[in-house]
Structure formats: structure tokens, C-alpha cells
Amino acid sequence: MSTLNTAAPTRAARSGDWARRAPLLPALIFTVLLTQLPFLATIWYSLGSWNLLRPGSQQFNGLANYVAVFTDTQFLKAALNTVVITAGCVLVSMALGIGFALLLDRKFLGRGVVRTMLITPFLILPVATALLWKTTMLDPVFGLVGFALSPFGLGEVDWATQFPVASIVAALVWQWTPFMMLLVLAGLQSQGHDVLEAGQVDGAGAWQMFSFVTLPHLRRYIELGVLLGSIYVVNTFDTIYMMTQGGPGTASANLPFTIYQRAFLGFDIGQSAAMGVVVVIGTIIVAMLALRLIFRTFLSSQEQKS
């Protein structure tokens, strides 16, 4: 397919080049305008002090915002919360997702219905999910979780106040487990039938089959799920906004929520921009890993085809 056009760089070929490039340009220009330009502006804002409420207060002050950000205990706490929430959510939902996928990877009565049920939490409006978890699930008096746990003496715990980060992680895990499950299930179903049969012929037990045949095969899918999940969950804002508002105090605020507070409640544009830039740098590091993985998975699946 790639050898379709190997014309010499004549004038005709060059105009053909442009004809082929033309369909790409609108999307490219649109994306640059709406994502790259604002980010450049953010970098610019991060080098100045500017309070939104005072017009004309804009002033260049170099790297002062960055110094302030890195000595800001609230920022550091938020960074830690971001790591805890992201890692907690991704790891637990991946473990559950693998379990669910294994349960679904066999024929049984109502498989389609169970599968449909299990993906549903991912489809509920995330804002509504957060609110429902905070109220009907985790309420200390009338919540369903308290009712279910009351035989264990955990009936009257005010989860969202006493364990705000864990409560947020619980709601996020519920929301993201279907995502992990779908990825792992796709991996399980792409497994070669002959390998499994060979293993069975060789007399491998179920656990041996899983750890020596299935798990290595799933590795790529698990890595992909962990990295994509991290990229989505790092940006979590709605769950925190709806469940705890970052509280009590700033106990459960992550970086996106803290930046939001600085910008839209504190009106401190310079500092919130500096925080944004720091978050981007952190994300880029994770994203690079993810991108390489996506490319590898993507390209190898193309090779399989041809």
C-alpha cells in the first residue's frame, strides 16, 4: 500500500502531493489553533503575574510563579493526591477488569447480557456517578455501602469525609473497571486457539495456563490499559468536584482541581498557568511511554493483516 506512489519529484507529482495533503490540512489547522495556541498562551501567562479581577494587573515576573508553585505545600499535596488517585484507580480497576474479563471469556447462559451489564457503569454520566456514590452509596446513615457493611461494624462510617481520597478512588474504580475489562477481553479473544490447545495437550493446569500462556499474551493489553487509563484518570475533575470539592479543606484535591481553584476561585492566572505547565511536563513523560506502546500495538496489528 505504501508503494502506491513512488513518482519522481516532477511538477505534476508535487501538485499531486498537495492534492493528497489537502484533505489533511483543515483538521490539522483546526487542532493547532484550538490546542497548541492556547497552550503557548498558558506558557506566556505562567511567566507573569495577573489577577483576573484587576484589569491591567498583568506584569512580567519571569520564573517567580514556578518557584512559588514548587514551594507551595498545597500544590505538592495535590500532586501526591493525583498520583495516589491515579495509581489507585488504575491498578484496582485493572485487577478487577482482568477478573471480569476472565469470567466473560467463556460461553455461558446470558453472556451478552452480563457483558452489557458490566460495561454500563462506564456509560453513566460521570458527574451523576460521583453524586450517586457520594449520596445513595456512601452516606453514613442511609447509604447502601454502609448497609452492606453493617454486619462488619462499618455501618456508620462517613466515607466521603473521613476517607475522601478512598471514596473518590472507589467511584473512579467503578467507572473505569469496564474500560479495563474491555481491553483485557479483547486481548483474551485474540489469543491463538492452537496455543491454548497445545498447553492443554501438554497437561498444563488452569493456573499454569493462565500464568505462563495467557498472562504473557495479555501483557501488551494490560500495559495499554494502564497507560491509557492513567492519561484519562490524571485529568479527573468531575468526580472530585461533585464528591468532595477537594475537601475537607484540601485533603482530596488533585492537580486539575487545584488549578481550577486557583484560576476560577482565586483568579490567580499566573500561578494556575504555571501549575498547568508543570502538569503538562509530567503528563508528557507518561504520555511518551503510552504513545510508543500504542504505536507498537497498532503497527503490529497492521502487520498481522498483511
Binding site: Y45, H193, A263, V280
Partner: protein, 301 residues
């Protein structure tokens, strides 16, 4: 419905198996059925029911009087009422739905308008540096939105586009375009190149190839991409919260009204949550075979 279902059947490379069980995406059961298999089935069903219990509880609570929503132990038997749905739909709810519908439908249309040609240029007739362009698109998806919200807010304010639904349309388009380009590209790559070459040999122009040859083949993939974009746009909260106020607020912003009044309105909250989630739950159920492909940006089928 049929579009995506058909697609799942035709485009999925079905491995040669001895039975016909592969048709539904499954394989012959690895575990032998019998008492053990039956127990596992029961266990699976139990796990699924526990996992989905918050959703079941939401729907159940939506049909309660507020008094029945606050009981210890929780009430399962009660006289159902449609009062809460009436209260939600009777309030100022519909403008929010209208805004969400505009933001979702128009941004999805715009994504396809920009994304289909771009994906074509990156797959069927690959331009130079295709890999770099793909890399660029996907990298924008990894840019945290918090890093661009301030300039967007300031810029929208300057051009008087704050609290304007079309601002959200544009931003949701930018948000979904990278996913769509990747996803569409993965569908384009599955199109047999023979039919394109044949059309080109007969002298069809580029646009004609796109419209008359490619589009019919691509329709299921385009539908799947559109559904994924709709899910993300309908659920988006951050931009909507920060860039809209009374006029252009969307459904997730409507839900914030329940934060302060919680403790009194669980049944109504549940009814609202049910109503606002319903469109996407249906879309997701219909597109479930394509969900994984969209979420992994085309990397996993």
C-alpha cells in the same frame, strides 16, 4: 444498530475455528460445562449484579417518594411513583438538554467533516511524515485540559463567546478529533485497496473516490466513530462548567444543582441521573463492540 452490528461481523477477521461459535465474538468454551461450569455461571451473574447494583439502585430510587429514599435499612418494596421524573422534566431541565444535544450533535458532525478526509490522507493515500502527523494528533489528547482552560476562558471572553454553546461545539470538536482520526484511519486501513485502484484506473477523481467508493464501505466505521464522539461530548464537564453560565449550560452542569441540596432530594437526583444517562447508555450498548476500539484509539479491535 444494524450498521455497527453488521460491521462487527464483516470487518472482524474471524479466525478459522472448528465450530461456528466465533460469530458472536466468542470461542468454544474453554472450560467444560457441567456442575463446575454452572457454578461459575452463577458466580459470574452474581458478580455482575453486585457490580451494577449502584445503577439498579439509581433506577429504583428514581421511582420512590423522597420519604422512601431515606430509610435504614434501605427500602426495596414501595409504591412506585413518576413524581420525581415529573419534577425533573417539569423544571428548567429542557434547555440544558437542548444545549447538550447541540454540543453533542454539531461537534460530532464537525469531527466527521474534518476527520474523514484527514484519516483518508493518513491511510489510503499516505502523505509524507504520516507517522509524525498521527503522533501530533494523539499527543494533543494527552495535553491536560487544565493547561489550556485559562487562555480559552480569556480568549472567549474577549470575543464575547463565553456562555455560548458554539464555543463548546468547537472545543468538543478539538477534543474528539484526534480520537476520530485514529479510529477512522484504522477503519480505512481495512478497506481493500483493490477497489480504490480500480476506481482510479477508470479515471475517477479523488473526491469521487472518497464519496462513491470509500464512503459506502466506511459507513459502519464512521457510525462507530460518531457514537464514541457522542459519548465523550455528552459527558464532558470541565469546559462546560468553566465556559458557560445560565444560557449555554449543559446537562452535567445541571447536575451540579444537586450538590448543595443533597440530603433532601435523593429520589429526584436519581431520577435526573437516570434521565441524563439514558441516551449514552443506549448509545454505548448499541456500540459496545466498537467501544474498545474507540477507547484505545483504534489500537485494539
Amino acid at each position: 444498530m444494524t450498521a455497527t452490528a453488521d460491521h462487527a461481523k464483516t470487518a472482524r477477521p474471524v479466525p478459522p475455528t472448528t465450530t461456528g461459535a466465533a460469530r458472536k465474538g466468542g470461542r468454544p468454551g474453554r472450560r467444560k460445562s457441567g456442575p463446575g461450569g454452572r457454578a461459575l455461571t452463577v458466580f459470574t451473574w452474581a458478580v455482575a449484579l453486585v457490580f451494577i447494583s449502584p445503577v439498579l439502585w439509581m433506577v429504583l430510587t428514581a421511582f420512590k417518594q423522597e420519604g422512601d429514599a431515606y430509610t435504614d435499612p434501605p427500602k426495596v418494596l414501595f409504591t412506585p411513583t413518576l413524581e420525581q421524573f415529573g419534577a425533573v422534566l417539569g423544571g428548567d431541565f429542557l434547555p440544558y438538554v437542548g444545549n447538550s444535544a447541540i454540543a453533542t450533535l454539531f461537534s460530532t458532525a464537525l469531527v466527521l467533516l474534518l476527520g474523514v478526509p484527514a484519516a483518508y490522507a493518513l491511510s489510503i493515500a499516505p502523505v509524507r511524515r504520516t507517522k509524525d502527523v498521527l503522533f501530533f494528533f494523539i499527543s494533543t489528547k494527552m495535553l491536560p485540559v487544565v493547561a489550556v482552560i485559562v487562555p480559552l476562558y480569556v480568549a472567549a471572553g474577549r470575543i464575547r463567546m463565553l456562555d455560548n454553546i458554539w464555543t463548546l461545539v468547537l472545543l468538543y470538536t478539538a477534543m474528539n478529533l484526534p480520537i476520530a482520526v485514529w479510529m477512522l484511519r484504522s477503519f480505512f486501513l481495512e478497506v481493500p485497496t483493490g477497489i480504490i485502484e480500480a476506481a482510479r484506473l477508470e479515471g475517477a477523481s479523488l473526491s469521487r473516490v472518497l464519496w462513491s467508493v470509500m464512503l459506502p464501505v466506511m459507513a459502519p466505521g464512521i457510525a462507530a466513530t460518531a457514537l464514541i464522539c457522542m459519548i465523550f461530548s455528552w459527558n464532558e464537564f470541565f469546559f462546560a462548567l468553566n465556559l458557560t453560565a445560565a444560557k449555554a449550560a449543559t446537562v452535567p452542569v445541571f447536575m451540579t444543582g444537586f450538590i448543595t441540596s443533597e440530603g433532601l432530594y435523593w429520589a429526584q437526583l436519581s431520577a435526573a441521573a437516570t434521565v441524563v444517562s439514558l441516551p449514552i447508555v443506549i448509545v454505548g450498548w448499541v456500540a459496545q463492540r466498537q467501544l474498545v476500539r474507540g477507547l484505545s484509539m483504534g489500537a485494539v479491535k
